[in-house]
């Protein structure tokens, strides 16, 4: 049939059940993205004869003789459609995976529809921005008094992402947006058979019929994989995570665990092969309740493992990790306290919902090396573990990432690369595995559900005298990230408050559930929810103002960070310092701004209003090592090359790194070539997690660029017979007094002298770390009859040190708050009592839409950090952490009812209010 795509007519032969999206993508039209594959996210939106449609729902055959327009065809090549320009000017994206669909949707709106974006953007999901900037871009009502971000600028300026033009036109390639020549010909596809039971053993598995199908190249079962235990969770020190996972395991410990893998000429054939696999399962008793998992007689998940070799605290009690620690004398302090408050808070299973599902494509390069291009936050750590599991020398494995379509911690795991690598090695062919949204929601890690009991004791004036946390974390079936999340969850949270007597009891237990993993905040959010709620209760008991009780107790410079141990007693130094302190400013800012403005109370009877605040502290870099090695070089043509390991997934590190180089090298962004997220470009990079991308690699890059600039100055000084200090770098060359030289000339001079151009390296190991602060305030209205919680006002103050890029930082904060509002009010991965999934598509998982979110006012404290690069601190996961308790505290203020379980859905709020009313 004939199909015209972005003005070019083509002849295509769609398959009968094919949707338009895959037809377009198979034709290298990669501006069309797969987000949900069920018509719910809008990432695949295209115009068909001028009308917007979801190309994932649109039968490809129906597009015969029609004209399809994608984001790449909205404007002539090299130009931007006005809507695209507005997305650039408003910084209306972060990872940018939703942007092509968003832009196409927006371009088709008329004036009347643009006036009702709640309704007309409700089908377009953005997981990164929180929609304020998206609305601004779509509505075209940007404040004209502030100029749009520049395309190039130094540190501190509002600079747009270097990829902005490509992102808004859909031409920036993501992981599986392959262009001709990216991958050798002969691509095969992976499909995975997943466990239908929460706990079972594969008695027998017969793949003969599947393997015999034409077009099927390989079927893998547990018989065919390396018997090497590993963890999908990735850290600088691989020993942080328990080795309890096999590529394919005969024991299935959760619904959705891999059972068998088919590799075939197409996804359809691979799926057909899986339908022909015959499995005999021995169903085993399962434990889904973490409270039961540690009891005697509970089914054991990893009793076959050696505790020491696998680093599992107690496989005989389903115990992944535990921590019991006391500072001071908590029992006596509680006994002597004037007031004691306590409660148990629970958090649910939350999905990251990065719009780009996990995926990877692998092949053998001309030297026979295994190459894997993956949607990962940690290419170097994946490379190292692939080499280990597959018993290959590290030099034989290369891992790289293109732009990644959202991470939120979910891609600090090795979830697809092992299968792709194994399939490439076994078949010798290039192999791709793109997980489905269903797999992402039902089989891949989520945020850790936790149950957190908090007790606080205080003097009559509100000074904390005792603080006890008892935490149970549901690790799910595998231990990936569970020790790290557990330890981190009770660290900065408990250390936030000065208190002489502290006790922490924490356990992470295995259950027959989908594994929990790294998620924005890395455990802090769950404990901060409990702690900040309890503190609010304490303030009420004592009749104190919520700001005052916090000011009285928060740590200040000069204090030690005491969480589970006192460094003064142990003599240990984990490198954490007050590099700067802006918590006082953040509290002042929220206290001043929260009462101002905001939406009116909604129409209708019975609405009650109230306010609440919460704060959180976070270390600017994760503990236990975070390393970045970068290099910078002057090229022969007078431009600069930067080699950085960090991946870009909407975290904005690329923008910040570019700004650092622009400043240090006296150049402009268009003269920089940043090569990134590739194990071939630099020695090591621990990865973009724990908010480390900007600060750790940023410091390394600053060092490299300053050294490189020094080399170039020295060359010029030698040339002019001057002092290097007199040499000034500018975009086209150097100046020394009234003498000038081009950068190309200096490069040539260096080559003549040393045989190579100027090049410098930088390394940072984050030996010292600082602390950053966030304070969130909400005013809400609650309708008791329906349980609806409406946010009337949201204010968030951050202490991020020197602001490297105000537009980008504002976006990170807005996005973090938005994601946290989703977790606090709506989101939950549901399952049936037998552990089978009840949330299988985006329709059963409500991530916030534009209509769900108002604007959050973002305020910056004015501090300069002594540890971070150029005075800056990281600020990417932290805004998430204080949001849920601030909302719960506001609901408490409005209704008198304390909600201790997330999400605070209307049905739960309604029930809680009714129960209190009935008791009264």
């Amino acid at each position: 049939m004939k199909l015209t795509v972005d003005g070019t007519a083509t002849e295509v032969e769609p398959r009968p059940g094919q949707c338009l999206r895959t037809l377009l993508r198979e034709g290298s039209c990669t501006a069309v993205k797969k987000g949900c594959d069920s018509g719910d996210c809008g990432a695949c939106t295209v115009l068909v004869d001028g009308a917007p449609v979801r190309s994932c729902l649109y039968p490809a055959l129906r597009a015969a003789d029609r004209e399809v327009t994608t984001a790449a065809g909205l404007a002539p090549a090299g130009c931007l459609h006005p809507v695209q320009q507005r997305f650039v000017d408003a910084a209306g994206f972060q990872c940018g995976f939703c942007t092509p669909g968003m832009v196409v949707t927006a371009a088709a709106l008329d004036e009347r529809q643009r006036a009702d974006l709640d309704e007309h953007l409700k089908g377009n999901l953005c997981r990164c921005t929180g929609y304020r900037s998206v609305r601004e871009a779509v509505a075209g009502d940007r404040d004209p008094s502030t100029p749009p971000p520049a395309r190039s600028g130094a540190v501190g300026e509002a600079v747009s992402a270097p990829a902005a033009h490509r992102v808004v036109t859909g031409t920036e390639p993501f992981t599986l947006d392959l262009a001709d020549g990216d991958v050798p010909p002969g691509l095969l596809h992976v499909a995975v058979l997943r466990s239908p039971h929460a706990h079972a053993r594969v008695r027998s598995i017969d793949v003969r019929a599947a393997a015999a199908l034409e077009g099927v190249h390989l079927v893998l079962t547990h018989h065919d994989v390396p018997q090497v235990l590993f963890s999908t969770g990735r850290h600088q020190d691989r020993l942080d995570d328990p080795d309890d996972t096999l590529v394919l395991d005969p024991v299935l410990r959760h619904h959705g665990q891999r059972v068998a893998v088919a590799v075939a000429e197409s996804v359809a054939l691979a799926e057909e092969a899986l339908r022909a696999v015959v499995v005999d399962y021995e169903v085993l008793p399962a434990v889904l309740d973490p409270h039961r998992a540690g009891e005697p007689g509970a089914p054991l998940l990893h009793a076959d493992k050696d505790a020491d070799a696998s680093r599992i605290a107690d496989p005989g009690a389903n115990l992944v990790a535990q921590l019991h620690s006391e500072v001071g004398d908590v029992a006596s302090a509680f006994a002597a306290a004037h007031t004691v408050v306590e409660g148990t808070w629970r958090t649910q299973r939350v999905a990251h919902l990065a719009l780009e599902t996990h995926g990877a494509v692998g092949w053998l390069d001309e030297r026979g090396r295994l190459v894997v291009r993956s949607s990962t936050q940690v290419p170097f750590l994946v490379r190292d573990e692939l080499a280990r599991v597959l018993d290959l020398p590290r030099e034989r494995v290369r891992v790289l990432a293109a732009r990644v379509g959202g991470g939120f911690g979910g891609k600090q795991e090795m979830l697809v690369e092992d299968l792709v690598a194994l399939a490439v090695l076994r078949t010798g062919r290039p192999v791709q595995y793109e997980t489905t949204r269903r797999e992402a929601l039902t089989a891949l890690p989520t945020r850790h559900p936790m149950s957190v009991r908090v007790r606080l004791g205080a003097d009559a004036d509100g000074t904390l005298t005792a603080l006890a946390v008892d935490l149970l974390s549901d690790a799910g079936a595998y231990g990936n990230h569970s020790p790290g999340v557990m330890f981190h969850s009770v660290h900065e949270s408990v250390a936030t408050y000065r208190c002489a007597n502290k006790r922490v009891d924490a356990r992470a237990v295995y259950t027959n559930s989908v594994p929990s993993g790294a998620f924005r905040g890395y455990g802090l959010g769950q404990v901060v929810f409990a702690l900040e709620s309890a503190l609010d209760d304490l303030a009420r008991e004592l009749g104190l103002d919520p700001f005052a009780v916090r000011r009285r107790n928060v740590v200040v410079p000069g204090d030690r960070f005491v969480a589970t141990t006192d460094p003064a007693v142990t003599g240990e130094d984990d490198g954490l310092r007050f590099g700067s302190y802006g918590l006082d400013q953040c509290l002042d800012l929220v206290e001043r701004e929260l009462p101002r403005g905001g939406d009116p109370v909604p129409d209708g009877p019975g609405w009650r209003t109230g306010s609440g605040i919460a704060l959180s502290m976070i270390a600017t870099v994760p503990p236990r090592g975070h390393v970045a090695e970068v290099s910078a070089a002057l090229l022969a043509d007078g431009t600069w090359e930067l080699n950085v390991g960090t991946a870009e997934f909407g975290n904005g590190t690329t923008t910040v790194h570019t700004q650092i180089a622009v400043q240090a090298l006296g150049t402009t962004a268009d003269r920089l070539r940043l090569r990134q997220a590739d194990t071939d470009v630099t020695g090591h990079d621990t990865g973009a997690f724990g908010s480390a991308g900007s600060v750790v690699a940023g410091r390394a890059l600053l060092t490299a660029c300053e050294r490189l600039a020094g080399q170039v100055r020295a060359l010029a000084a030698e040339r002019f017979g001057a002092d290097p200090a007199e040499v000034v770098l500018h975009p086209d060359g150097v100046r020394c007094g009234n003498r000038t030289a081009t950068l190309a000339d200096l490069h040539a001079q260096a080559v003549r002298a040393t045989g190579r151009g100027p090049r410098a390296e930088g390394r940072d190991d984050a030996a010292l770390r600082s602390v950053a602060f966030n304070v969130q305030g909400f005013r809400v209205a609650v309708q008791p009859a329906t349980g609806e919680v409406r946010v009337l006002r949201s204010v968030h103050a951050v202490d991020a040190g020197v602001v490297l890029n105000p537009v980008q930082l504002r976006g990170q904060v807005e996005g973090g708050v938005a994601q946290a509002i989703g977790s606090a009010l709506f989101e939950e991965v549901h399952r049936h009592p037998d552990g089978s999934p009840a949330t299988t598509s985006l329709r059963e998982y409500h991530a916030p839409r534009a209509a769900d979110l108002g604007e959050t006012q973002v305020l910056f404290a004015d501090t300069v950090d002594a540890v971070g690069p150029l005075g800056a601190k990281s600020m990417s996961e932290a805004p998430y952490n204080p949001v849920a308790p601030a909302l719960a505290n506001a609901v408490r203020d409005a209704t008198g009812v304390r909600l201790r379980e997330l999400p605070m859905r209307p049905d739960r709020v309604w029930r809680a209010l009714r129960e209190v009313a009935e008791r009264a």
Binding site: R15, P16, R438, H830, A851
Partner: protein, 280 residues
């Protein structure tokens, strides 16, 4: 998403071709807009019979009322112009907007598709039962029958369709279109999937109809010769649901809450229509 097990899509242009293609075989399904079929895995389907080539007029108006073809895009419902006396007309647009689906989906999704998917929150189902809608069904043997929509949708995702039967059209009678209506929708999120949809209609002769969808697995419709007091309507609805399908429970809302918000809405719509000149 790709429906990888599908081997054939058969476009049909007349009733005879439809009967030949759609005999009620297990691996065959009817395709209209495709927005639900293509939104989830369909490993059991081999053949799709495409109705969109039947060339049915999306909607027609006669003295008997409004006829919506099964293949009428849902979005077009909102564009059907009002006729003199159609006090219920705003309900068309209201129900379209009650759909979780975005406008890009609603412009492709069809009236028949929404009815046959039989989701509790199906907004066309809500519209149909609010206005005494009935479907014309074509059997594979050439037979034709008519069924009120409250009898077509019998449970969550279940209909009274017989094997090979196809919805030809939805008829909304003139009498109902002339009634005054009031409606309420509740969901866990703003503009989310409906957890409770309540519509009330007062006809010109005073007859009163109340319909609950979304909060129950199938529509619950109550009729009175004259508007009941709000308290009685609430009691009757509560009893009808309890004796009938019960309050629905899924990830879009717990049943006790659905009961509470539905009964609240029932009282509100009855009171709204009770006010002289109130509502539309």
């Amino acid at each position: 998403m790709d429906l990888n097990a599908v081997e054939d899509i058969i476009p049909v242009r007349d009733r005879a071709a439809l009967a030949r293609a759609h005999t009620g075989a297990a691996g065959t399904a009817v395709l209209a807009g495709g927005t639900w079929l293509f939104s989830c895995e369909q490993p059991h389907l081999r053949v799709l019979v495409d109705l969109t080539a039947m060339g049915w007029e999306p909607w027609t108006v006669s003295a008997r009322g409004l006829r919506l073809a099964a293949t009428c895009p849902v979005a077009e419902l909102a564009a059907v112009p009002a006729r003199p006396g159609w006090a219920a007309h705003p309900l068309l647009r209201w129900c379209v907007r009650a759909l979780l689906a975005s406008s890009a989906v609603r412009s492709v999704a069809t009236v028949g598709g929404n009815l046959c998917t039989a989701l509790p929150a199906g907004a066309v189902t809500s519209l149909a039962v609010a206005l005494d809608g009935a479907v014309e069904l074509w059997g594979p043997d050439g037979s034709t029958r008519h069924l009120p929509v409250e009898e077509l949708v019998v449970g969550d995702g279940r209909t009274a369709l017989r094997p090979g039967e196809v919805v030809r059209a939805l008829d909304l009678p003139e009498r109902a279109l002339r009634g005054r209506t009031a409606s309420r929708r509740t969901c866990l999120q703003r503009l989310g999937r409906s957890a409770s949809l309540v519509t009330a209609r007062a006809d010109e002769d005073g007859a009163f109809t109340l319909a609950v969808t979304a909060a129950t697995s199938r529509p619950v419709v109550l009729r009175w010769p004259a508007a009941p007091p709000a308290g009685r309507a609430v009691r009757d609805v509560r009893a009808a649901v309890q004796e009938g399908p019960g309050w629905f429970s899924d990830v879009h809302g717990d049943p006790d809450w659905r009961c509470a918000v539905t009964l609240r809405s029932v009282a509100e719509v009855v009171e709204e229509l009770d006010r002289p000149g109130g509502a539309s």
